[in-house]
């Protein structure tokens, strides 16, 4: 198999940044409001469009449109990192649900309930809500008379396109969400005598009234929430052929052979605690109007090229080929293919690779320049998303970002890091004021509190929701620090350092001493986490839970490294090291043979519980390593516990299981769990919806979208192909038979500051290339042999004869 050439498949980070800068789009969030006036983007001077046969390699496609009443399962997502939309692609009624990641109700939510925990309602804690719906009615294009319907999600170019014929005339439309122009564009074209006649309607979802401006150039609305957040949206349309005019509160178009519709919107949210997370200078309705009118001054071709030039380099930093699918599989559309994959249990490597790329597409579309991706990202179909569409700190947001560095989207991690940094002042203030409230059953026995903590849920206003989650800070920091391991970016490390240090300080006040008896009968004093829950089952008042012990161990270790790299807090770091050495670490239960979840040999929870909290040291941590460096009994206990948790869970729980099995090098179990997440979801059952969104069945017949599985599963696929920790890389640690015959992957992030490209045949690595993004040395284990690689930042080495 040919290695993908560097030029086509693996632009360097430097190349990416250059392209992005050319598109005028490289804006960091820090200090800037999420929705702001920006100078006109620079337009690419050459076409960035992929040739159709090249683009086809990264396209999903369907032979039927989505239903306006099932947008979560059937709408196709687009997003510019802040604004997201789902498109139905019905010929006679293009329908978009539009969500701005910052359109949150609620606020600081810093008055505890009587039990010392946080309120968790849509008014107090708040909820992500939809911004608008956009409808383009084209009554003459009834689906009943449509032939050759096809809609396509082009992952590499960030395009949703729809093509169909009516009476032999071809029609085509494209929908894309541009970050450089900060608008969503719908472009309708036809061949020959085909025309469009209908209306464009923009509607708010909170009872706003849309109005048209007197000159008839646009329609818009604006309003504000009870929490003071202002928001607004605007739409304009134009055609080079027919008539476009204002009609009531809509825009009508008549006999148009082409039609362009441009919509934008946003809020005056700002990621700054000092201004109450508002930018009072922003007038969202007016800004949305300015943006759509500015974009309308450019040609659609310019808008499209600017958008593709922006997203393509990000997408192309990673490429994957898991092997060829059959001709019969390729004939099927994506949804039929998902169904056939499950029905026949015949591997479909191209579909499985596409599932990974779809996850990457969601990260590119939902995590650039604004808030991070919550439980659904900016893809809602109503204003009551389950669990508020919030940020869950006990696996969900962490999992969402697991593929960022692994799968060549290191820049999308910024939204996560910037979020934590921006929230820190409020998290700190609220924690120090409220955590030791006497009614909080999780309060510190020491009576002291420092640093910061969060609850299970967080919002973008520094607010926490539901129960305190003392270990959540350490887990958030685990991702933060791991991003440094991938990038070796000291500037970044300095940015997040206060967050990590604050979490460490919290734990310095929280650890308590306990006396344990070793197998030898000797007793020793250890440090354990105070009374807590092993999320989300079992007793709620146990000390020394494995989940907490592992996370704190990891936090303290990372703090040690961070302080050393930055040359700060040497004395404090030493004292934290001393604490770490005294931390109790989990044992294997003589009763169950499992790694203990609690400081008890008994199973105090649900055997097949969705969470793998006690295995957090296996993944995402790597304290438990099946390579001889961890006592075999611990590895065996972890394996036994993972086995007991079972293979039949859902979405993110399957993804986490898969990642753990990949770490244990059980390729087939890891693969089966990927396959389980590709099970077609019908009537809300667990699995993948028509649009590949992961569906979790909360009650029989009721499924909800949780994006974390769409991102955790890709992370698992990468983890099956490459394992890394600083100083150590392992190629093909868990390659399943389904992908073994031949394949390649390029642009994989490597902890320690590298990226890797590798190809394989018959299960053996045939070639690997390591590029330093800051790392200097590592061992590389391939085909059972280890070698040492030393590089300077920017250098690459190709390893052959493996």
């Amino acid at each position: 198999m040919e290695m993908p050439s560097t030029r086509d498949n693996h632009p360097s980070r430097r190349g990416f940044l250059t392209l992005a800068a050319a598109a005028g789009a490289a804006t960091a969030l820090g200090g800037l409001p999420a929705f702001a006036a920006t100078p006109a983007p620079r337009r690419p001077t050459t076409s960035p469009m992929l040739a159709p046969n090249v683009a086809a390699k990264n396209q999903l496609w369907w032979r039927a449109p989505g239903s306006a009443t099932s947008m979560i399962e059937q709408g196709l997502p687009v997003g510019n990192g802040r604004l997201g939309a789902l498109a139905s692609n019905d010929p006679s009624r293009e329908f978009l649900t539009i969500t701005d990641a910052t359109l949150w109700t609620g606020g600081r939510n810093d008055t505890l309930d009587g039990d010392g925990q946080f309120p968790y309602g849509r008014e107090d804690f708040g909820s992500l809500t939809m911004l608008a719906t956009l409808t383009v009615d084209i009554p003459g294009h009834d689906l009943g008379a449509v032939d050759a319907y096809r809609r396509t999600l082009d992952l590499a170019q960030g395009l949703v396109s729809t093509a169909y014929d009516i009476a032999g005339v071809g029609y085509r439309r494209e929908v894309f969400a541009s970050r450089p122009d900060d608008v969503i564009v719908l472009h309708f074209t036809s061949q020959g005598a085909g025309t469009y006649t209908g209306t464009v309607s923009l509607a708010g979802t909170h009872g706003e009234s849309t109005t048209v401006d007197p000159t008839g150039r646009y329609a818009s609305f604006g309003a504000s929430f009870a929490n003071g957040l202002r928001y607004g949206a605007a739409v304009t349309a134009h055609s080079g052929t027919g008539t476009v005019a204002v009609s009531g509160t809509s825009i009508s178009f008549t006999d148009c052979r082409d039609l362009t519709v441009i919509v934008s919107g946003g809020t005056n949210y700002a990621p700054t605690a000092t201004t109450g997370f508002r930018d009072e200078s922003v007038q969202p309705q007016r800004l949305a109007r300015d943006k759509v009118l500015a974009a309308a001054r450019a040609s659609v071709r310019e808008l499209l090229h600017t958008h593709v030039a922006d997203v393509r380099p990000a997408f192309e930093r990673f490429a994957i080929d898991l092997g060829a699918s059959s001709a019969g599989q390729r004939e099927l559309d994506t949804w039929e293919r998902v169904q056939a994959r499950w029905r026949d249990n015949v591997p479909d490597p191209e579909l499985e690779a596409a599932y990974l790329q779809f996850g990457r597409y969601l990260l590119i579309s939902g995590s650039r320049g604004s808030l991070p991706i919550g439980l659904q990202g900016p893809w809602l179909d109503g204003n009551d998303p389950d669990w508020m569409g919030d940020y869950h700190s006990d696996v969900n947001i962490q999992m969402t970002y697991w593929p960022a560095d692994r799968a060549g989207l290191t820049d999308t991690f910024d939204a996560y890091a910037d979020y934590c940094v921006a929230q820190l002042p409020v998290w700190t203030e609220v924690t120090q004021r409220l955590f030791n409230t006497s009614t909080n059953r999780f309060r510190n026995t020491s009576g002291r509190v420092a640093g910061w903590a969060v609850a299970f849920s967080t919002n973008p206003y520094g607010g926490s929701g539901w129960w305190w989650h003392p270990s959540g800070n350490a887990w958030l920091c685990q991702n933060l620090f791991e991003h440094y391991e991938y990038t070796q970016d000291r500037g970044y490390l300095a940015k997040i350092y206060p967050v990590v240090k604050g979490a460490v300080e919290f734990w310095e006040t929280r650890l308590v001493t306990a006396t344990v008896t070793d197998a030898s009968g000797a007793t020793r004093e250890v440090l354990v986490a105070d009374r807590d829950w092993s999320a989300e089952h079992g007793p709620q008042d146990t000390r020394g839970n494995t989940y907490s012990q592992e996370l704190v161990w990891n936090l303290f270790e990372n703090y040690h490294t961070a302080a050393r790299v930055l040359g700060r807090d040497a004395d404090h770091a030493r004292s934290v090291d001393a604490l770490r050495k005294r931390l109790y670490l989990p044992e294997v239960s003589p009763t169950t043979g499992w790694l203990q979840e609690w400081m008890s040999p008994d199973n105090l929870g649900e055997t097949t519980h969705r969470h793998l909290s006690p295995l957090i040291g296996l993944f995402p941590g790597d304290r438990i390593r099946p390579d001889g460096s961890t006592p075999a009994a611990i590895v065996a206990g972890a394996t036994a516990l993972l086995t007991a948790r079972g293979m039949n869970s859902f979405g993110w729980a399957n993804a986490w299981r898969s990642l753990c099995w990949a770490r244990l090098k059980d390729a087939e179990k890891a693969y089966q769990l990927v396959v389980n997440n590709l099970r077609p979801s019908t009537n809300g059952s667990n699995g993948s919806a028509m649009n590949l969104f992961d569906i979790y069945e909360t009650n029989p017949g009721r499924g909800i979208f949780q994006i974390d599985a769409n991102l955790g599963t890709p992370a698992a696929i990468v983890e099956m192909l490459l394992y890394s920790r600083p100083g150590h890389v392992e190629l093909l640690p868990a390659l399943p038979a389904a992908w073994a015959s031949a394949g390649s992957v390029a642009g994989v992030g490597v902890r320690g500051g590298f990226t890797a490209d590798l190809s394989w045949r018959d299960g053996r690595v045939t070639q690997a290339r390591l590029t330093s993004v800051g790392g200097r040395s590592t061992t590389v284990l391939a085909n059972g042999r280890s070698r040492q690689v030393n590089l300077r930042p920017g250098e690459s080495v190709t390893l052959r004869n493996l």
Binding site: Q74, L143, G144, V146, D147, G328, W342, D344, N345
Partner: protein, 607 residues
């Protein structure tokens, strides 16, 4: 106001049907649970006029608007739409707009002999006689007007002697000296029909036939060409001896034969399929299902109950033919706002009726047809499919939200219909292999009146919610398949599964008793190339049953096979399964319930 002679569907009426279905389920693989009782008079029935119902009849019925709460239709109380003025208005519209396309019957439904308070009126011979407010000039004048438009006239009766006509047993029977109403019913006045609104006729007494003769004579004298006999059992949500009206139907056939005028005899409603042979012998058509009307603010609704027909029609597909057709009830697609249906639903409704060879009679207000409705009712190619004399179409794929139906046409082409019964748009694919051919085939889009050119191996269409497409396909190459008998010794049977005799099955045997975990696994199903195959499954199932079908290690699909109508008829549906080069297994697993009996499978030799 509830009406005793109104076929209003009751919420609970499904329960006995489910129980009956369960009874058949438990007799898996056995002969029909109910043999047709031989209550019919032995005299050979006179042959009906040869030209009656050679093709499904076409026309209009009054009941749809009578039964609706649509504003303005029934200003003088429920069912008050039925008047001479309204009937003649509709007849005139039918003659103008639809007659050129073959619509000819103007059918007066229930109530012509009842006032607006639903009080009936009878002549001295206990025969229904027109309500003077509804029909001030009587029924003959109406028929004459209809005939004057070149159309045919239809009338209606409930089966049995209506209770109000009994007159203490004293009413004489016309042209039957010595016979009174007391002689034509049972001494215990046992009741019959779907509403228990009549006394059951006792044909052991010749007076009963005379009563029917007198009614038929009246209709013939008035000039009626069509009679809907309603509330007929077994059916009409009734079963048991008192509701067995086979003898009534036979009596009507005899009476019509001697009345001096050909009269089409149509039976209603939800006739018992176990008596299909009786209905075919004595009548010209039978309602297979409950009322299509919704008794609501529109004429019909998709869920209540157009969509029921997709489940219920397959069982009857082999019961219809020239002389007697499966009646799916009225076709109300002419005015979207009144019909209460989307465009897609209206087209699907018309499609199912046409491919099922159902009579095509609308209950719409023909003076208010919209353009789309008129186009649906007057598409000559669709009407030609309904009228081509061939067998009704059947599903060629298992029943689910996306279905493919088809039938071979008398001219060798195929009618292929795609349906999306789901609530969201979906694509549906018809594989030519499901019809026994392969390669290139020319496709005509019937509704849109366009040739779509040559399509290779399959056609796929995006269908709206509840949508459909209708194609005529001229096949290319015949498909060559390899058959594997279920009963072959190489196969593996588990649990309850067993081999049983089956006259209609290939090899004379099948594998039945597939229930609660019983499985049959076809072993050594051999193909030359890896791929996804269209595997034809021949099966027997007197009711719709589901089975998990899988190949090799696949999870398979839980598929509902449509009823074959009885336990002696084999039908075929096809399923998509991946097979690998070499030997494969294909498994039918009953899971937790009852599955069809499997006759054989056929696997294409090439992809």
């Amino acid at each position: 106001m509830p009406s005793p002679t109104t076929p209003r569907r009751q919420p609970g009426t499904r329960v006995p049907l489910v129980a009956a279905a369960l009874g058949v389920l438990l007799a898996a693989g056995a002969a029909p649970a109910q043999a047709a009782p031989t209550t019919v008079a032995q005299a050979a029935p006179t042959q009906a006029a040869a030209d009656i119902a050679q093709r499904p009849f076409m026309g209009w019925t009054s009941w749809t608007m009578q039964s609706s709460k649509y504003p303005g239709l029934n200003p003088d109380g429920d069912y008050s739409y039925l008047t001479e003025a309204n009937v003649l208005k509709q007849a005139d519209a039918l003659a103008t707009k639809l007659k050129p396309y073959g619509y000819e019957y103007v059918n007066i439904d229930a109530g012509w002999w009842r006032d607006n308070a639903w009080v009936p009126r009878f002549d001295q011979y206990a025969r229904q006689t027109p309500d003077p407010v509804r029909f001030p000039r009587g029924m003959q004048a109406v028929a004459e007007h209809i005939h004057g438009k070149g159309l045919k006239a239809g009338i209606y009766l409930p089966v049995g002697l209506e209770k109000e006509a009994y007159a203490n047993g004293t009413a004489p029977i016309f042209n039957a000296p010595g016979c009174t109403t007391a002689n034509i019913v049972y001494p215990d006045l046992r009741t019959t029909n779907g509403w228990d609104s009549a006394y059951k006729l006792n044909f052991d007494n010749p007076c009963a036939q005379k009563y029917i003769d007198s009614q038929a004579q009246l209709f013939a004298d008035w000039g009626y060409d069509f009679l809907k006999l309603d509330g007929v059992g077994p059916g009409s949500f009734k079963s048991g001896d008192n509701y067995d009206n086979v003898a009534d139907v036979a009596a009507w056939q005899r009476a019509i034969a001697t009345a001096g005028r050909p009269i089409h005899l149509e039976l209603s409603w939800s006739l018992d399929i176990n008596h299909a042979a009786d209905w075919k012998r004595y009548s010209n058509g039978w309602r297979i299902d409950t009322d299509v009307e919704c008794y609501c603010n529109t004429l019909v609704s998709w869920e209540n109950s157009v969509d029921d027909r997709f489940d219920d029609a397959p069982a009857w597909s082999r019961k219809a033919g020239p002389g007697g057709w499966n009646d799916l009830d009225s076709l109300n697609v002419g005015n979207g706002e009144m019909d209460g249906l989307t465009r897609a639903e209206r087209q699907s409704y018309a499609t199912l009726w046409a491919i099922s060879k159902s009579p095509l009679y609308t209950g719409d207000d023909l003076t208010r047809l919209d353009d789309y409705g008129l186009s649906l009712l007057t598409n000559r190619e669709v009407i030609a499919i309904d009228q081509n004399g061939g067998a009704p179409a059947r599903p060629v794929t298992p029943a689910g939200d996306q279905q493919v139906w088809g039938a071979k046409n008398p001219d060798g082409s195929y009618t292929v219909a795609l349906f999306n019964l789901g609530d969201a748009p979906a694509s549906v694919t018809a594989h030519w292999a499901s019809f026994g051919f392969t390669g290139n085939a020319s496709v005509r889009d019937v509704w849109n009146r366009r040739d779509l050119g040559t399509q290779r191996n399959a056609i796929t269409a995006a269908l709206p919610a509840h949508g459909s497409r209708l194609f005529t396909v001229r096949p290319g190459t015949a498909l060559t398949s390899t058959s594997y008998e279920a009963e072959a010794s190489v196969n593996t049977l588990t649990g309850t599964a067993s081999v049983g005799g089956c006259d209609a099955c290939s090899g004379g045997q099948k594998v039945g008793n597939l229930y609660v975990g019983g499985t049959v696994r076809f072993n050594e199903v051999t193909v030359r190339k890896d791929g996804i195959y269209t595997v034809a499954v021949s099966y027997v199932s007197g009711d719709a049953r589901s089975v998990q079908v899988s190949s090799n290690s696949g999870n398979g699909s839980y598929l509902k096979f449509p009823s074959t109508g009885d336990w002696g008829t084999v039908e075929t549906v096809s399923v998509q399964l991946a097979l690998k080069a070499g030997a494969n297994t294909i498994t039918f697993d009953s899971g937790t319930w009852y599955s069809p009996d499997i006759d054989r499978i056929a696997v294409p030799q090439t992809l």
